[in-house]
Each structure stands twice: as structure tokens, then as C-alpha cells.
């Protein structure tokens, strides 16, 4: 029971890492009004795949994603899961690079080279990933509480500068954004596939999934609407780090810390580390189980993957390329979010039918 709750919290924390970085920018750049409709559609898409995935996994109560693929055949597992591990690595690399640039901007460490921040983030993420899922699960509880307190504090103080009229018009002028490529990228910003990494009998139940989904949607709405309420759509598209700029507008001279973006930066770091530790752990797990390695070899593969991610992050030349590469890696991830749940579900149904026929005989 507690493990299930911990798992839900871990997914919530990891989602935070996805949400604050590019999400608000992509949403505000693809629609000029009625942003909540886009968020809602995205949420519906997520819950749709989540349900299919969960249903598919439930056909195999004691197996995880990798076992199921291996049951399908060794080559199927190899073709899908090994590239998946590399996609996860590229997401870690490019995502962390983007995050380290943002952290430098938020904490005003303009003289700190990005590679130092990148190395720090990669190191801690890899360390956490090597420690294994159990550690992440236990730590996620305290991190969830702390980061939510910080975010609550930020949100409350920012309300001082809110002008709710800035977020109008309420309704989108068209539903054109559903066919926008940005909309597809957004689908990739989700740790939904993590569900498959724990056998379904120990995994979250539908009620947990629903709560996670509600929390994540709420966080997304916050991250999109905080900048909107403050700046309005016209200005938001001109800014780079939306949430950071929005939080920075609050006059906090009465407080010991004159800039509360520090709190935002702290929670961002926590989110990022957990997200990337989770991704690296997933990549390690994929390699270890697909090739049937011994347990201790997983940490070697995690170290290899994190070094690869570090190099990937290091060699992205400029801000434009960072954004493009993050979009590319999450775009492919989005594709996997569509493909993997469908494969599992269909295979589950076929398997069930075969079993039924077998039993009849």
C-alpha cells in the first residue's frame, strides 16, 4: 500500500521536471487564447494512453514491461527496448542541458559555466539511479512535500501581481492546435511509461492513477497560467523562461531572501534530479533485463548512459539547438508513449484469447 503511494508521489515529482521547462512556452506559442483547452486535451490524451497501458499490463500481473516484450520474442524486445534506452539517455542529456541553462538564469549565476551545473546534475541523477528504485521511492515522499510547499509559497505570493483579465479570451479561437506539432511534443512530456517498469500486482491502482493525473494536470495549469495572469499572452510569447520571469516580478523586499525565484530554482532542481534519475534507472533496467545481465551490471550501464548523456548535453552548441534537440527527443518519446501501450494492450488481448482457447481444449 505505502509503496503504491510512494510510486504515485514519485511520478508526480518526475512530472514536475517535465512541466516547468518547456511546457508553458510550447502551449503559449501554439495557441493564443483558451490555453486550458489545450492542456485539457493533452490531459485526456494522457489518461487515454494511461488506461490502455494499465489495462494491457493487467493481463500480466506478475510481469513488467520488459518481461512481456521478452515473452513476445527476443528480437521484438531488442528492437523496441534498446532504442528506448537510448532515447531516454538523449532525453536526460538534452533535458539536463536545458535545465542547467535555466538554473543558471534563475539563480543568476551568469559566471558559472553550464558544464559545471550539467556535471553536477548528471552526477546526482546517476548516483540516485544507481541506488535503485527503492531509494527513489522513499526519498520521493519528502521531496514531494518540500517542493509542494515551496511551489505553494511561490504561487501565493505571485497572486499579488495577478490580473485575471490577462488570461482572456477564455475560449480558443480555433482547435487548430490539435494538429500542431507542438501538441505532439507535449505528449512526450510525461513519465507515463514508468508504469510498466513495476509488475502490475505491485503497481498503482486506478484510483492512484487518477490522483496522479489530477495533480499533474493542476501543475500544468499552474505553470501555464501563472505567466499568463501576470503578463498576458502578448508579452508571454516574447519571454524565454516564463515561470521564472513571472515569479521574479514579485517584490519581496520584506522577506529575508529578496528574490523568491531561489525557491522556484530549488524545487526545479529537485524535480529535475528525480526525473532524470528515474529516466536513467529506466534505461539501466531496460539494458539489464533485455540482455539478462546480472544485477551489478546495471550500475555500469547507468554510468555509461549518464556519461553519454553528459557528452550529449555538453556538445549542444546553442540555445536554439538545445530547444530543437529537446523537442526531437521528446517527440520520439511521444511516439513511444503511443506505440508501447498499444502493443502491450493488443498483445494482452491476443494472449488472453489464446489462453482461453487453450483452456477450452
Amino acid at each position: 500500500m505505502t509503496q503504491r503511494v510512494q510510486m504515485a508521489l514519485l511520478v508526480c515529482v518526475a512530472s514536475g521536471g517535465f512541466v516547468y521547462l518547456l511546457y508553458p512556452r510550447l502551449v503559449t506559442s501554439s495557441t493564443d487564447s483558451g490555453h486550458w483547452v489545450m492542456v485539457l486535451f493533452q490531459g485526456l490524451l494522457q489518461i487515454f494512453f494511461m488506461l490502455i497501458y494499465k489495462k494491457g499490463l493487467d493481463y500480466f500481473p506478475d510481469k513488467d514491461l520488459i518481461d512481456i516484450f521478452r515473452q513476445m520474442g527476443k528480437w521484438v524486445a531488442f528492437i523496441i527496448l534498446v532504442p528506448y534506452a537510448f532515447i531516454l539517455t538523449s532525453m536526460v542529456g538534452f533535458g539536463l542541458r536545458a535545465h542547467s541553462e535555466e538554473i543558471i538564469a534563475i539563480l543568476r549565476m551568469s559566471r558559472t559555466p553550464y558544464w559545471a551545473v550539467l556535471a553536477f546534475l548528471v552526477f546526482i541523477s546517476a548516483f540516485t539511479a544507481i541506488k535503485g528504485l527503492g531509494t527513489m521511492l522513499r526519498a520521493s515522499v519528502i521531496v514531494f512535500i518540500i517542493t509542494n510547499l515551496l511551489i505553494m509559497f511561490n504561487t501565493l505570493t505571485v497572486t499579488a501581481n495577478f490580473d485575471f483579465y490577462n488570461a482572456f479570451p477564455v475560449w480558443p479561437s480555433s482547435l487548430q492546435f490539435l494538429w500542431d506539432t507542438n501538441f505532439n511534443f507535449l505528449t512526450g512530456f510525461s513519465p507515463l511509461l514508468f508504469l510498466g517498469f513495476v509488475p502490475s500486482e505491485n503497481n498503482m491502482k486506478y484510483s492512484h492513477l487518477f490522483w496522479v493525473w489530477t495533480y499533474v494536470t493542476f501543475i500544468i495549469l499552474l505553470s501555464v497560467y501563472i505567466p499568463l495572469f501576470i503578463f498576458g499572452q502578448e508579452t508571454v510569447v516574447k519571454l524565454h523562461y516564463l515561470v521564472e520571469e513571472a515569479v521574479d516580478t514579485v517584490d519581496m523586499r520584506w522577506f529575508i531572501f529578496s528574490r523568491q525565484t531561489i525557491f522556484f530554482g530549488m524545487s526545479l532542481i529537485a524535480f529535475t534530479i528525480f526525473l532524470n534519475a528515474l529516466l536513467l534507472w529506466k534505461a539501466g533496467q531496460l539494458m539489464q533485463k533485455t540482455f539478462n545481465w546480472k544485477k551489478n551490471k546495471r550500475s555500469y550501464s547507468i554510468i555509461a548512459f549518464s556519461s553519454l548523456a553528459f557528452l550529449m548535453g555538453l556538445y549542444v552548441p546553442n540555445q536554439y539547438m538545445i530547444e530543437k534537440s529537446v523537442e526531437l527527443s521528446t517527440g520520439i518519446h511521444a511516439l513511444l508513449i503511443v506505440i508501447i501501450p498499444l502493443i502491450i494492450f493488443i498483445y494482452g488481448v491476443i494472449n488472453r484469447r489464446r489462453m482461453a482457447v487453450y483452456e477450452k481444449k
Binding site: 538564469a105 543568476r108 549565476m109 551568469s110 559566471r111 558559472t112 483579465y165 479570451p169 479561437s173 516580478t249
Partner: protein, 349 residues
């Protein structure tokens, strides 16, 4: 086993070396932190930047007022960085003073606003004001009268119930007004005051970086009312009496008929009479007060409508009634047609 745990401890202790701080950090006593920055323009192509920097040395606080001239702003900032006695750090800037001549130039002003938002170190919640006076003199006047009193500017601009006509504008608000379709902004004008440091002389109205008009402090109070401030504490002297405002609230009902926007504003004001001539009844005072406020409102409103500068922010109330494409045309097509039915309801204590 024991050796292993010692090794682990060693690794943990090594990671402490990461805690030594940020990269290339300068301690606070090795930084020059300007409090106020003044930007002005002499002649046609020479900028002047003035900085007011408090310096604390052996317990006594002094200050430096540095001035630099140059052909571009970034040149001057580079020059200042080169010549300053230690690392320049803009993260404590509270006030940016812009000379009126510079502010009147739309292009320069827009550039300046964009620059101040783009400089990462500069806090976006710093205040912006305009002045007609010599900026260097103003800074030295503040310094002479008040010393390096760090919170002086903050307190001057946030007097709320003590002086509700004073308003303040932050960099981020100015930046927002550059792009906003439906709202314009007013920036405080200050002058040198020989006795108190600086004096408040009303505000200048900016339409997307273009100075379009000025209002005096009394009229500025009305603008403040439209930005959710309270007129509480305002003292108004009518010909025959003096009143103090106890409370005020503004209700707006926007409506749109055949592309003709209409707003009915009801301003409810509760006043108390503090002095009156003999024989003046409450009713007379109420009537006089009502007339005064309404006259003031229509004066500013017609002036801003002519300039197409929506400083009251009426456009904000129509954001939900127009589509995003139509909002683009708010200033040019809808705002000149806007009718405002402004009514003041005065009640006595």
C-alpha cells in the same frame, strides 16, 4: 566491511568540496551595488548614465555618484564596469530614473525598456520614474538629505493610505505595456525637492513606449482607482469645504453592442467633512464633490481617447468579449468608440 565504510565516508567528505560556493563568486564587500540608476541624453547622440552607489567603510556609510558619457548605453555600461573600483552588481537596483527628454523619444524609450528587462541581473521589480531635473543633482540631493537610506525610495512610492495619489511602475509592467493590446501605463514624474528629497509631480502616460500625455497628482488618484487601489485617506479641498475620503470602491460593467463598447462605472465614495464654511449643507458638499470627480474623469478620458492610449485599462474588461484577433485592433478601432458612463455616488460618514 570496516574499510568499506571508511571509504564511503571519504567519498561523502570529498563531495563537501562542492559546497564551497558558486563559480567565480565575489563576496558582498567586493561588489559595487548601485541603488539608483539615471539615464539621460544630452545633445543628440550622447547618453549619460548616473549611478548612485552606497559605500560602507569602517561602519560609516558614504556614497559615490558616478557619471559616464558615451554614444551607446552598452558602451557606457562597459565603461562603468571597467572603471568601477570593484565588481559591478546590478541586482540591488531599486530605481531607474529616466530623463524626460529621453522618455519623449519613442524609439529610445522602447529600446531602454527592452534593455532593462533583458539585463539578467537587473531585478524586474525595480521602479521606473521620469524626471525633468538634472539627475546628478537629484541623487546628490537625496544623499545630502537622507544619506544612504536603502529603503527610502520604497517608502516614497508605497504610501498607500497616507498618500493614495502616488503610484509606482515597475520595469516588468512597462515591458508588458509595450506588447499589451489592451492596456497602457502611467509612469511617475518626480522632481527635486529641497526639503524632502524628491517630490511627486503626477504621471506621464505611455502608449507602447510613446509618451502621450501627463496627469497631475490629483488626476493620478483617479487612475489609481481604476487599478484596484483605494482612495482612502485622500484629502480634497472644495471651494467651500475640505473633505477626507474614508473608503471608495469602483464597480465596472462592460457591455458590447454592435461593435460599440460601453462601460458603466460606479464609484462609491464615503467621505467625512473636516472643515466647512458656515451654512454649507452636507448635500451641497456631496454635489460639489461628485461634480469635481466626474469632471476630472472626463477630462482625462477624452484626452486619452484622443491619443488612443487606454491608460484606464478599459480594454482589459473587453478581453473576453472580443476574439484575440479583434483585440489587436482595440486601441485603433474600439477604444475611440468607447462610451463610459461614469457615476460617482457620494455618501457621508
Amino acid at each position: 566491511m570496516k574499510r568499506n565504510s571508511r571509504f564511503k565516508l571519504f567519498i561523502v567528505l570529498i563531495s563537501l568540496t562542492f559546497l564551497c560556493g558558486c563559480w567565480n563568486i565575489k563576496e558582498i564587500n567586493h561588489r559595487t551595488t548601485p541603488l539608483y540608476i539615471g539615464v539621460s541624453k544630452e545633445n543628440d547622440d550622447e547618453y549619460i548614465v548616473t549611478m548612485y552607489v552606497p559605500v560602507t567603510q569602517s561602519g560609516e556609510s558614504e556614497s559615490i555618484i558616478a557619471t559616464k558619457k558615451g554614444d551607446t548605453l552598452s558602451n557606457i555600461f562597459r565603461q562603468l564596469r571597467t572603471d568601477s573600483d570593484s565588481a559591478l552588481d546590478y541586482s540591488h537596483v531599486q530605481l531607474i530614473v529616466i530623463q524626460e527628454k529621453l522618455a519623449e523619444n519613442e524609439e529610445e524609450m522602447t529600446k531602454l525598456i527592452r534593455l532593462s528587462m533583458a539585463v539578467e541581473q537587473l531585478p524586474s521589480q525595480a521602479l521606473v520614474v521620469i524626471t525633468d531635473d538634472d539627475i546628478k543633482k537629484m541623487f546628490s540631493n537625496i544623499d545630502k538629505l537622507l544619506g544612504t537610506h536603502g529603503t527610502y525610495v520604497q517608502e516614497f512610492f508605497y504610501k498607500e493610505e497616507w498618500a493614495p495619489e502616488v503610484s509606482s511602475t515597475h520595469i516588468w509592467e512597462l515591458y508588458r505595456s509595450l506588447y499589451s493590446y489592451t492596456e497602457d501605463i502611467n509612469v511617475p514624474i518626480i522632481t527635486i525637492d529641497k526639503d524632502t528629497g524628491i517630490g511627486f509631480k503626477g504621471t506621464a502616460i505611455f502608449k507602447k513606449g510613446k509618451l502621450t500625455g501627463r496627469v497631475n497628482p490629483k488626476e493620478n488618484l483617479l487612475l489609481n482607482l481604476f487599478h484596484h487601489d483605494n482612495a482612502k485617506g485622500e484629502i480634497e479641498s472644495l471651494g467651500s469645504s475640505g473633505v477626507i475620503v474614508l473608503n471608495s470602491s469602483l464597480y465596472m460593467t462592460p457591455s458590447m453592442k454592435k461593435n460599440e463598447p460601453l462601460v458603466s462605472c460606479d464609484l462609491k465614495i464615503k467621505i467625512d467633512v473636516i472643515e466647512r464654511n458656515d451654512g454649507v449643507t452636507d448635500k451641497q458638499i456631496q454635489g460639489e464633490f461628485k461634480e469635481l470627480i466626474e469632471k476630472q474623469f472626463y477630462k482625462i478620458f477624452t484626452q486619452t481617447q484622443e491619443n488612443k492610449a487606454d491608460v484606464f485599462g478599459f480594454g482589459q474588461y473587453f478581453r473576453n468579449q472580443l476574439s484575440y484577433q479583434e483585440l489587436k485592433k482595440w486601441r485603433d478601432e474600439y477604444y475611440p468608440k468607447l462610451k463610459v458612463n461614469f457615476q460617482v455616488h457620494v455618501s457621508m460618514k
